[in-house]
């Protein structure tokens, strides 16, 4: 496992991973330790942070820390669902396009181009605007984000696959009678796996940001607590213009930290495995 020990020598990678794992731990374990229900009314609304309610109380009389911990959990789930779907679609379509070529390639490229040109945030809004508000839970919102944000990465996987297809060992594999599917699975996926990881990290963080955006606009999450829903409630009750910072700053800070940590992980993966491309 020399690759892992090498990676752990890169400060950027370690810092990013540490911050990200801390946030994941907060979302997974936090609700088990801080046992306050995020939906119960615990006191008068807009009580500022105090020892009994470390992050204060929101517009509906609920504990903000409990909301935040469940919100992190919800947002991480949305990110995982959306990034899983988008990664699956882009990896499948990108490699298929490169390996099969011809008409398959042309059709996939045109579809992905359309998905790149039409902004995914708008597509998501159109999709979500017509979904019944009662049905918009983690799975549905994650699905909507996932199926609209794969276009750019499909192109990335295609071009990386194309450059590998030029290598001698692929010609050997073709000569020895390997099927195209087996070439994708056995030869290409292992080589581009760092890029796959990096793209998962970026899809994950952009999905979390997208959920927040969708929910603030009013077409996102309604059923499960996420960072977006906390901010939506804060915006709906005009907390920001009343200077009630404790419902606004914690979820946005977590959002920025998720982005920065995964960005660090993604760029250090990319720099480590393809040092020539790094410009930083």
């Amino acid at each position: 496992m020399s690759i892992l020990t090498d990676l752990f020598r890169i400060p950027k990678f370690v810092a990013g991973l540490a911050i990200f794992l801390t946030i994941v731990a907060l979302g997974l374990v936090g609700p088990l330790i801080y046992r306050v229900s995020p939906t119960d009314i615990v006191g008068p609304r807009y009580t500022p942070p105090s020892p009994s309610h470390p992050l204060g109380i929101d517009a509906l009389g609920r504990d903000v820390l409990a909301q935040l911990l469940y919100g992190i959990r919800g947002s991480l789930l949305v990110g995982a669902v959306a990034a899983g779907i988008a990664l699956g679609l882009s990896l499948f379509l990108g490699t298929i396009a490169a390996v099969f070529g011809g008409l398959v390639d042309k059709v996939i490229m045109v579809i992905s181009e359309v998905f790149i040109i039409i902004p995914s945030l708008l597509l998501m809004m159109v999709l979500a605007a017509y979904l019944s508000p009662g049905a918009r839970n983690i799975w549905l919102v994650g699905f909507v984000i996932g199926i609209t944000s794969w276009g750019g990465w499909a192109r990335g996987f295609r071009s990386r696959t194309m450059s590998i297809l030029q290598s001698e060992f692929i010609k050997m594999a073709i000569l020895s009678g390997a099927s195209r599917v087996s070439i994708i699975l056995r030869d290409i996926v292992p080589i581009i796996s760092p890029y796959i990881l990096a793209s998962f990290a970026m899809l994950f963080t952009s999905a979390i940001t997208a959920e927040v955006g969708l929910t603030i606009v009013g077409v996102g999450m309604t059923k499960d607590i996420t960072l977006g829903l906390i901010l939506y409630i804060a915006q709906l009750y005009a907390n920001i213009t009343q200077g009630i910072w404790w419902t606004v700053v914690p979820p946005t800070l977590v959002m920025i930290l998720i982005y920065l940590s995964l960005y660090l992980v993604a760029i250090s993966l990319d720099e480590y495995f393809s040092p020539k491309l790094g410009t930083a």
Partner: protein, 339 residues
Amino acid sequence: MPKINPFIVFILKRLGIMVLSFFVASTIMFLLPRIIPGNPLAVKVYQILQQSASNPEMIKSVEKMLMDYFKLDRPLYEQYFDFLINLLHGDLGKSITYFPRTVNEIVAMYLPWTLALLVPAIIASWIVGNYVGVIAAMNRGKAVDKVLLPLLAALQGTPAYVFGMYLVLLAVATKWFPASGAYSPTAIPSLSWSFIVDYLHHYILPFLSIFLTSLGGWGLSMRNIAIQELSMDYMDYARVIGISPRKTQSYLFRLSALPQIVGLAIVLGWSVAGSIITEIIFAYPGIGTALWSAIQAQDYMLIQGYFVILIGTILLANFISEIIFAVVDPRVRYAYAGE
């Protein structure tokens, strides 16, 4: 057979992709309300019917308009055909909440506010960002770069609306700037001196949040482009024949600005859609805030109208930017002209 100019082939291909994208987007918009279980459009029409007890005259006409526009009782292919014809005529129907005003009128009411905010903010961030990017590239690895790089990355990573939220919190705490709206509640929009001062006072914070967050993206991409240009032979040549660093910097700026011009066209097209949330945070009376209230009121006519216009703008900006690229950069032009 005469040989067609490859440049024209290129433009036709891009035009084809643009038309296809618009077609796909509008098909999605047509199909969604009709295929989603519990047809949200039919539910809306039903709600209006139920409310007709309170205001029979007005409701009857809204209902008639909706029925006329959507023709939900006709076969799907006929509805689709009519939908496309209406779109091509620029007929986006009438708003439900602002009935009997047309969607086009309402868009025309909000769009100038959005453009007044976005266009200056984006152009200013483009100019400053490019300048900062070139400086970072010229000093690559030195102290200036080491400060600028993480700063630009942090700005790029923060969504404009989050930045906006912090600015509003700051404004509320310090009372230096008004925290919401585009002008004071008592002011009446006009070209008077006092209104303009009032508007600018409200303008500063939303302007800053868009200006600063897009500065990060421009700075980083300019830095990358400039670093690539710096490694070219002609840059070595400039150094060898003794051109001053100041002059080199200005050459570098002009060389690297080319791809950035393309980026500017794309971002300007994108901006209206991209600043929806920033507008909502500042309660700025533009397209974004209008879209938000349309979504809250479930005014499907307005929602659909905004989407058509936003997607149309973006597609057009993309197309224009590609043409600009081919026209401005001789290398691209010669590549398509096929020598």
